[in-house]
Symmetry: C2
Subunit: 134 residues, 2 copies
C-alpha cells in the first residue's frame, strides 16, 4: 500500500460556530468550505493549514458515532485521514497482516470516496481513516 | 498571525520499535529520521506522509510530561504542530484575545525552533504547538 498524503485531521466539536471562532478567526486558518452531510448527520467545516486540512466536525441531533466519541473522550481529535492509492488493496493487506480494519471491505464515505478505518487498538491509539480519491 | 503549514502530528508511544513496525513497515510511511533528544528525554521517529510528518515520540526513563500524558489518556495523538510566521507575535495576539498559551514567551524547542503551546482548554481538546523555523 502507498500513502499519498495526509488528507485531514478530524476534530469533533459540539458547537461549530464557537470552534470556527478559534480556528478560523483567531488562529487564522482559511475556511475552505462548510457542508452538512445529511445522511451522516454531521456538519463539517474544512480549514486549510497550507499543506493539509483540519476538519471541524459537529454531530447533529440523532447522530451516534461522533456524539459517543465526544461523550467518552471529550471534544478533540477524532481521526486522522490518510489518502492511499488503493483502499481495497490496503484493507486486504492489513487483514493479512493481522490488523482488524473496521469493515471487511471499504465503503463509500463523504465526497464519494472509498474509505475504511483502522482501529486505534492497532495503531497506538489513533483512529486512522484510509481514503481513496474517486 | 499566519499559519504557514501543519508541521507534524506528535503521537506518544511507549515502544518506538513496535510503533515503527505499524507506521513504517505496515502503513508504508517513509522514515525520515530517528533522533534522541537527550535534554528532553525523548526518542523521536519522523515519518513522512508526503505533505507533512507524523512524529512517533517515546518518553525515556525519567521523562515526565509525555509519560504523564500517556498514563492519563493512553498512547495516541499528543499534539499537532503548526508552523507560524512569528511565534512571539502569535503568543502576544492570543494572550490579548484571552487565550492562555502555556508560556508567557516562546521557548527554544527541538531543532532550535522557537515554540509555544496552546492549551487544549482553549482549542476544543487539541494541544497545539506553535513553532517558528529558525
Amino acid at each position: 500500500m502507498a500513502v499519498l498524503n495526509l488528507d485531514h485531521i478530524g476534530i469533533g466539536v459540539l458547537d461549530l460556530d464557537r470552534a470556527l471562532k478559534v480556528y478560523a478567526t483567531d488562529l487564522g486558518l482559511h475556511l475552505e468550505e462548510t457542508e452538512t452531510l445529511e445522511s451522516m448527520k454531521l456538519k463539517v467545516a474544512k480549514l486549510s493549514t497550507g499543506n493539509t486540512l483540519i476538519e471541524l466536525i459537529q454531530p447533529l441531533p440523532g447522530e451516534e458515532t461522533m456524539s459517543k466519541a465526544i461523550e467518552r473522550r471529550g471534544e478533540g481529535i477524532h481521526h486522522v485521514c490518510l489518502t492511499v492509492d488503493n483502499v481495497e488493496a490496503a484493507t486486504k493487506l492489513l487483514f493479512d497482516r493481522g490488523y482488524k480494519p473496521v469493515w471487511d471491505k471499504p465503503r463509500t464515505g463523504a465526497s464519494g470516496r472509498l474509505v475504511n478505518f483502522l482501529s486505534p487498538k492497532d495503531t497506538f491509539g489513533v483512529l486512522i481513516e484510509l481514503s481513496q480519491k474517486p
